[in-house]
Subunit: 480 residues, 2 copies
């Protein structure tokens, strides 16, 4: 736990990120190319994401199930766009039980195909619909370039898979789940994501439409943080899923899928972190309050530790997630830096003077220095801390929202976009271009259409790239 | 949801099991050989197992983490016994990203090797010990014969991996985690498992000692339901893990591993089920109380559904897991059978007469017929139900304990063992045989040493097989 300086964000954001995820003890590289080891502190963060989402999935009527890790190679080939999109990234099992397999097994890159094969058996009648399934699982995509949490060969995620009796219901489900993602991101992760539709070029392989939540990172790049796909009848047809509708006519159902992954950990790190380390929103922080006892000798230690024990119990009873830093042989200053690196929202210091005065010192991670520090009475501490955690949660969302809004610029000419992409920021533009236009813009500037935001100003304008009349606003940005 | 009769346990227990897991909607076979699809009802049961264990792991100081699915082939070869034990069962990825891999990657059959490789980096000093890690994961073992939940190619489990500064501490951890498993099995799953040590022949590949919890199924066969391994310094030496102890001397730590899997679902089914279907202990039942509204026409429906809504809320507020069966076009009798098949501990019936009398009917799954049915006042219902669930939980444990104790027989001669194995039951014997003796007994009778139980009578006797003096009691049984 040596405390070397971190590369400042302003010097090299990418380097800052790579250093911070290790120093904050979230993860480490494994001996398997592109695979991550998620360490306990990182995994606790993932557990917070999981429970925040799982609760929302169940509240909207979804049930968890589990499907095989392996998918017969032939399944993937049934949906033409799907196999085209995924085949370069597959890991393939060819030997099992000491023998060569007759049909190779693909390690799932996503589970549409194997799940649709089951849905075929589960769906006979309109009474079986809607079918609302979610799976928590690991998936594997053999990526050329990997980065911790953002793009790894194996990653953890959830994938929802649903089937519906009408196109409208499938569309409503796709939207509902995007709203669930946005609500989690905004309310729990304090990330003010923007909801929108992906262009044809950027949509999921095999989808009719893909919707996305896009988040702005600290370097003003975008991170696609969760996607929800309306698959139309594409997969239902490819897997010959049929049901008898209320008029006793045979139809293909409309299906959806939606996923959010451990990438969200990267989003939380890059949306909130600073040069001192992580800054974790209280709702997802594994530790909300760290208690640091301060004493110089055994005479001081006894009363301090008595107060720490008493106050710990009060906070625990109020369901506040705490940790007492009892490590010996480390200075308080060292400990402060260490917990700042790990992004704990509130630090509570208790020394002999605090014991005397029946106070404690509370320091906020989101407000640096003296401004963020206050002395409060021990009486009624749990309430004060709970309110403080709410204040921090709200402040972090506000900070991120202000940062986002300050860095989305209206752009009306291509050269403006080029400049903005060099300087950093998202471009809001009138857009009437084609997929090929998107490709050229990407090649020349690195920017892609992040989404066609749901929130549209209305009216019309001139496409910044083609000069054609446009009635749609798009967001362009460089992205992870 | 057709209700054909199930093969009775007495006719063919194995067939009964295979039918019941599908009819109760726990799982279905997948198109991938030996891989199971765990359906929502089965997955909810697994979630109950997970949360019951996870809570206990965290209370004993363990933290969750996540390690890669893939293990370089060379890692497995480092511990000689380990690779010998697992190599016939491996699934191997040889192609990834369209290219042949230089070193094939094994899909983890268990994670000792990849985790020990990390522990090497995490452990430098005695201050880093004990290191207490758990992982929730899927693993793959290419089994020749598979059975739902009991033995599948891919299965879900948790695997604990810990490292300690002394042999005694490692032994204490191994025992502690066996106790955690036993406490879960007995308290939550109502399965009166027997704790004991595996013989050399039956221990885990690479372990110094293996401890087990053994459960008796309804056909009097044994099911190994969880194992805890003291790995000594075997893996620490193979992976060159070293730490500086308090005297500043370099030592290899002592490690343990322990696992419990979706096999526990099979244990719950076979320990408690009867010819009508599952019988789920209330503590792990996804639905604890099913409410069946009964009415003949719309006039009757309105007041019945009003009462159902009101009472549902009361039960939900008391944290009782309920389900209201609102399906139309099905007779109450059909619904009763359906919920009996799914093993819901309590059925609540509410008809027009109950509304009039301010009562409901409660029927216990564990006590068939009229004896298990009572009419109780609606006032104070939540308390009555909570007490009833406790009674059922206790009764199921008692039933299973009496069944187990009635079917463990003291056996002093080999021919007695042969007869008992034909009739069904476990044999308690004085034992002083060798691994080769175990092999011969297995070949001739199908029985294996399930464990050397911790609870020993003391004293000594004559080995039932070798005739040698023996001071140890062993349990022999046929097992899954």
């Amino acid at each position: 736990m040596a405390q070397q300086a971190v590369t400042p964000q302003s010097v090299d954001f990418s380097k800052w990120y790579n250093e911070i995820v290790y120093k904050a003890d979230l993860c480490e590289l494994s001996p398997v190319r592109g695979c991550l080891i998620i360490k306990p502190y990182g995994y606790e963060l993932w557990e917070a994401v999981k429970s925040g989402l799982d609760r929302r999935f169940k509240a909207t009527g979804h049930q968890n199930a589990y499907f095989p890790l392996f998918i017969p190679e032939s399944f993937l080939k049934r949906e033409a766009q799907h196999v085209e999109g995924f085949s370069p990234e597959l890991a393939v099992v060819t030997i099992a039980g000491g023998k060569e397999l007759e049909e190779p097994l693909v390690v799932r890159p996503t589970s549409e195909t194997i799940i649709m094969d089951s849905f075929k058996n589960w769906i006979q009648s309109y009474r079986d619909l809607p079918l609302l399934i979610n799976q928590w699982a690991n998936v594997v995509r053999w990526e050329m370039r990997t980065r911790p949490f953002l793009r790894t060969t194996e990653f953890l995620w959830q994938e929802g898979h649903t089937a519906h009796a009408t196109a409208d219901e499938a569309e409503a489900e796709t939207m509902q789940m995007l709203d669930v993602y946005a609500d989690f991101a905004i309310t729990d992760a304090a990330i003010p994501v923007i909801k929108g539709r992906k262009t044809e070029r950027e949509k999921f392989a095999g989808a009719a439409h893909t919707y996305t939540i896009e988040a702005m990172m600290g370097d003003k790049k975008a991170l696609q943080s969760g996607t929800s796909h309306n698959l139309g009848q594409n997969f239902a047809k490819a897997f010959e899923i049929k049901f008898l509708d209320q008029n006793n006519e045979s139809q293909h159902p409309w299906t959806t899928s939606w996923g959010l992954s451990t990438r969200m950990i990267g989003a939380i790190v890059m949306a909130h972190g600073d040069d001192k380390g992580l800054r974790l929103p209280p709702k997802v922080a594994p530790i909300q309050v760290v208690l640091v006892p301060i004493f110089k000798n055994d005479d001081e230690k006894a009363p301090v530790m008595e107060a720490v024990a008493r106050l710990s119990k009060e906070l625990l009873d109020a369901n506040i997630r705490i940790h007492v830093d009892k490590r010996e042989g480390m200075s308080p200053g060292f400990k402060y830096n260490d917990w700042e690196m790990r992004g704990v929202p509130v630090r509570m210091e208790i020394g002999p003077k605090d014991v005397q005065n029946n106070t404690v010192a509370l320091a906020r991670r989101d407000v640096p220095g003296k401004e963020g520090k206050q002395f409060v009475p021990q009486a009624g501490l749990a309430n004060v801390v709970q309110e403080l955690l709410k204040t921090i949660q709200a402040n972090m969302l506000q900070q991120a929202t202000e940062f986002r809004d300050a860095n989305i610029k209206d752009v009306s000419r291509y050269d403006e976009l080029k400049t903005l992409m060099d300087e950093g920021g998202w471009a809001r533009v009138w857009w009437a271009g084609s997929g090929d236009d998107e490709g050229r813009i990407k090649d020349e500037t690195g920017a892609t259409v992040r989404c066609i935001p749901f929130e549209q100003p209305g009216g019309s304008g001139t496409c910044f790239y083609t000069g054609k009349p446009a009635d749609t606003i798009a967001l362009f940005a460089k992205a992870y």
